[in-house]
Amino acid sequence: MALSCHQLGSFPPRLSVYVLLIVFVAAASASHDAPQDGTHDPTNVTHKKAFPVLLFNYDHVRTPFEISLWILLALLMKLGFHVIPRVSQVVPESCLLIVVGLLVGGFIKAIGEKAPALDDTLFFLYLLPPIILDAGYFLPIRPFTENVGTILVFAVVGTLWNAFFMGGVMYGVCQLEGGQLASVDLLSCLLFGSIVSAVDPVAVLAVFEEIHINELLHILVFGESLLNDAVTVVLYHLFKEFSAVGTVTVLDGVLAVVCFFVVSLGGLLVGSIYGVLGAFTSRFTSHTRVIEPLFVFLYSYMAYLSAEVFHLSGIMSLIACGVTMRPYVEANVSHKSYTTIKYFLKMWSSVSETLIFIFLGVSTVAGPHAWNWTFVVVTVVLCLVSRVIGVIGLTYVINKFRIVKLTKKDQFIVAYGGLRGAIAYSLGFLLPDHHMKTLFLTAIITVVFFTVFVQGMTIRPLVELLAVKKKKETRRSINEEIHTQFLDHLLTGIEGVCGHYGHHHWKDKLNRFNKTYVKRWLIAGERSMEPQLISFYNKMEMRQAMLMVESGSSAKLPGLISMQNIQPKVESRGRTIPKISKGREEEIRRILRANLQQTKQRLRSYSRHDLFADPFEDMNENLSEMRFRKQRVEMERRMSHYLTVPANRQETPPVRRVRFESDDQDYTSRESSGVRARNIGPNSSPADAISVLEESPPLRPNRRSDGGVRRSAEHGAQATDDDAEKETGEPQTQGRRVSDPGPN
C-alpha cells in the first residue's frame, strides 16, 4: 500500500486520492467476503494430491487483518489529504474523514455487503480512551485551574440547561406537530435532549487544533467538553431508566443529584488513586527504563475501565489520572521515555480520531434512518439557540465573579465552538430498542454533521474575521518563568497584606503541601527537592542543547551576546601567569589542537582518544558532541581574544556551569542504569557559559571515577576556555576533578 503511494506521487494528487479510495473500498469489501475454504478435506486420504505449494487460508487471520486494514487505509486517507493543499486548508480534517467514511459506506452498501457500524464497545472502550488520555495528560494546568470555576459552570449548568431546554421544547413541538411525533413522550424527549446537549471533546479537539486560538478560549471550550461527561452520564442513565418506567418522582430527582456528585467525584477519586499509583511506580523504574511508558498507559487505562465498572465518569477519571501522574512521572522517567509517552499518546489519539470520523461516516450510510423534517430541523435549530442562550446567560453571571471578564467575542467563540460529535452518536446507538430510536439516531447524526461541517468549516474564517486572539507561538522564556513565579508569590503576599484568603493563598498552600509531602514520596532521588524554577531552567537548557545538536551547531548559536557583554567590567589588576600543573597544560594543549585541527571530526574519535568513557545513552553523546562543536566554533572565533583578555576579574567569577547538588548525586546514582541526559543539561547555557564549577566540598565524595573521567574530559576541553578567559586568582581546583582530587 505504502509503495503504491510513492508510485502515484508523480500522478496528479487528486487522481491518487481517488485511486486510494477505490483500493480502500475494494479491500474493505473484500474483508467481508464469505470465508474461503482453504483447508484440505481431512478425510481425503485415498487420493494423493500434489503437495500444496500455495494455500489460501484467510479465516485464520481474518480479524486482525481486517482491523489492520481499516487502520492502515484510514491513515493513508489522512496522508492523502495533505497532498491536496488547498482543500486541507479550507476544510478541517474531520470533515474530510467523514466524507471518506460516507463514500466508503456508500460503496459497501452498493456492493450489497453489511458495513461495520460504530458500535459502542469499540467506541467507548477502544477508540475514546486514547484521545482523552492524550488530552488529559497534556492538559495545560495553569489556565485550567485559573478558569476552573468558569469551566465547571459551563459544563454542569450549561449542559443541564441545554438538555432540559431542548427536551422540553422538543416535546412541545412534537405535541404540536402531531402525527408520527405525537407518540414521543416527555421522558424520551428529555433523554434525547441529554444525549444531544453535550459538547464533544473529540470534535472540539479536531477542529480547535487547527485554528490555534488563544489559550483561554481553548481551555474554556475544551475543559467544558471534558467535564460535562459526568452530567451526560447521569442524565443519560436517569432518563433511560425512567423512560422505561414512565414517571419520575421527586425522590428520583434528589437521587439523581446525589448520583451526579458520586459520579463526578468518584471518577476523580478513582483517577487520582491510579495516578498516584502510577507516579509511585515510576519512582522505582530507574533500572527498567524500557517499560516506563507502559506504566503510564496501563494505569490510565485501568483508571478508565475501573470508573466504567461503577458507572462513574470514565473521562473524568482518565483526566484526573493523567493530571495527577504527570508532574511526578516526568520528574522520574528518562528523557527517552518521556518522548515515547508523548509520541505514543499523540499517535494513538490521532489514529483513534481518524477512525472515529470514518466510522461515523460509514455508520451514517449503514444505519437505519427515519427522516422527519420537523424533528430534525427543530433539533438542529434548537441546539444552536439553546447553546447561544446558555452561553450568554451564564457569562453574564460568571463575569460577576471573574477578574478578567469574557468579552462578546469570547462568548461567541465559546458558543460557536460547542460541537457535537461521536459520543452523542454512540450514546444514541446504546439506546434500548425504542420505537423512536431510529428517529433519534437520524436527528443526532444530522446535528453532528451540521456542527462538524458547518460550524467546523466556518469557525476558521470567523476567527480571522473577528480578529480573535491567537495562540502565542513562542515558547516560554526563562524571564517569563521567573516572573510567573515572582508574580505568584507577589500576589499571594498582597493577598496576605489585604487579609483575605483568595485564590493565590490556597494555591500557595497546595504547592507547599505538594513540596513537603507529596514530592518526597513520589519522586525518586534528589529531584524531589528541586524547585520548579530550576527544573524549568534545566529543561530549557536541555531543549536548547538538543536544538543545537539537531541544527548542526554553528548555524543557530543563540545570539551573539555572551557573558562578557553583561558582566560588569572591573579594572584589570595586571596579568598573572595561570598556575597550572604541567600535566594539565599538556592535556589542554592537546585538546586545543585536536579541536582546531579537524572541522568534521566525529565525536567517536574523541572517545577513542580516551578523553572520556561514555557508557551512557545516545543523548549524552549528542550533547557532548554538541558541546564540542559549540566550543570549536567559539574557539575558532575567539581564540586570540582569549589569550589577550585581562586575567583578573572580580572575586565572584562570572558564569559558573551550574551543577546542582541534586544533579551530581543524581548523576552518580544513575550512571549504571543509563544517565538521563537531563543531568547534562545545565552544562550548556545559552551562551558560551563555559565556566568552571566552584564546588563545595560535600560534592566531592559523590563522584565516581569513570564519571569523573568523563567530566574531567569535558571540563578539560572547556577548561581551556576558562583558563584562558578567567583570572588566576581563582582556586585552581575548579574543574580539575579527577586529576586533582584534592579539596579546594
Binding site: 468579552t407 516560554r476 508569590h489 503576599g493 497584606v497 483575605h500 483568595g502 559558573r656
Partner: protein, 219 residues
C-alpha cells in the same frame, strides 16, 4: 464625631474617584489598614512584618519594601518612606486592580505599563532606572531562598541566563567589548510582553465584610 465621620466619608469618596475602587472596597481597605496599624494613622514596616501570612513568602521583604517605595506613589519622588498613610496604602493596592471590560486598548496598555512599572521598581532596588545583573541575581536568589539548599550557584546561573536573554532580545548585535548596562524599563516591557500583565497581576478586591475573614490567622 459626626463631623469627622463625614470628613472620612468625603475622603473615601475622593479616594474612590481617584483610584477607581468602589466605596465599599475603600471602606474594607480602611478597616484592614486600621487593623494593621493598630488604629494608628500610619503604618510602618514593623506593622507589615508582623503579618503571619507573609512569613513563608520568599519575597516578603521586597513586598513590604514596595509599600514604602516612593516611586510607586507616582509623585515623581524616589527613595523610601518610613511610614505610609492610608492614601499611599490604597495607591499601592491600586496596582492590583484588573482592567474593566469597558476600557479601550490604550487604557489597557497604560494599566499594563503601570503594573510592569511596579514590578520594575521592585527589582530595581537602587533606584537608578536599570536592573543590573546583581540586582537580577538577587531577585532570583530570593525566589529560590525558601526552596531549599540549592545555593547561590543555581540562582546565579539562572539570573545570568535570563539577563542574556533580555540582552539578546533587545540588543541583538553586540560587539564583544560592548557592555550591556542593565535592563531598562523598555527592555523589561519587551521581554514580559507575552505575559499579559493586565490580566494576571490582579487580586480580587471583593465587597465582602472583613470581619468574617479573620479566622484568627491574619493580623
Amino acid at each position: 464625631m459626626g463631623a469627622s465621620q463625614t470628613r472620612t466619608e468625603d475622603v473615601f469618596q475622593e479616594l474612590s474617584e481617584k483610584t477607581g475602587f468602589s466605596l465599599e472596597q475603600i471602606r474594607i481597605l480602611h478597616k484592614r489598614f486600621r487593623q494593621l496599624s493598630g488604629d494608628e494613622e500610619t503604618i510602618s514596616k514593623e506593622n507589615l512584618e508582623k503579618i503571619q501570612a507573609l512569613d513563608k513568602n520568599p519575597i516578603r521583604n521586597q513586598i513590604i519594601e514596595a509599600f514604602f517605595d516612593k516611586r510607586n506613589q507616582n509623585d515623581g519622588e524616589v527613595g523610601s518612606s518610613r511610614e505610609i498613610g492610608f492614601q499611599q496604602f490604597v495607591k499601592v493596592m491600586c496596582h492590583f486592580k484588573p482592567p474593566t471590560l469597558k476600557m479601550t486598548t490604550e487604557e489597557k496598555e497604560a494599566i499594563r505599563r503601570e503594573k510592569l512599572r511596579f514590578l520594575f521598581n521592585m527589582h530595581d532596588t537602587d533606584d537608578d532606572g536599570t536592573i543590573t545583573l546583581d540586582e537580577y541575581r538577587k531577585v532570583v536568589e530570593e525566589l529560590l531562598s525558601k526552596s531549599g539548599a540549592i545555593g547561590q550557584e543555581a540562582a546565579k546561573a539562572i539570573a545570568d541566563a535570563a539577563m542574556l536573554e533580555v540582552a539578546s532580545i533587545n540588543v541583538p548585535h553586540m560587539e564583544p567589548h560592548e557592555f550591556y548596562e542593565g535592563i531598562t524599563f523598555e527592555h523589561f516591557e519587551q521581554i514580559l510582553k507575552g505575559l499579559e500583565m493586565e490580566s494576571r497581576m490582579n487580586i480580587r478586591f471583593l465587597d465582602v465584610d472583613t470581619s468574617t475573614m479573620h479566622c484568627g490567622k491574619s493580623q
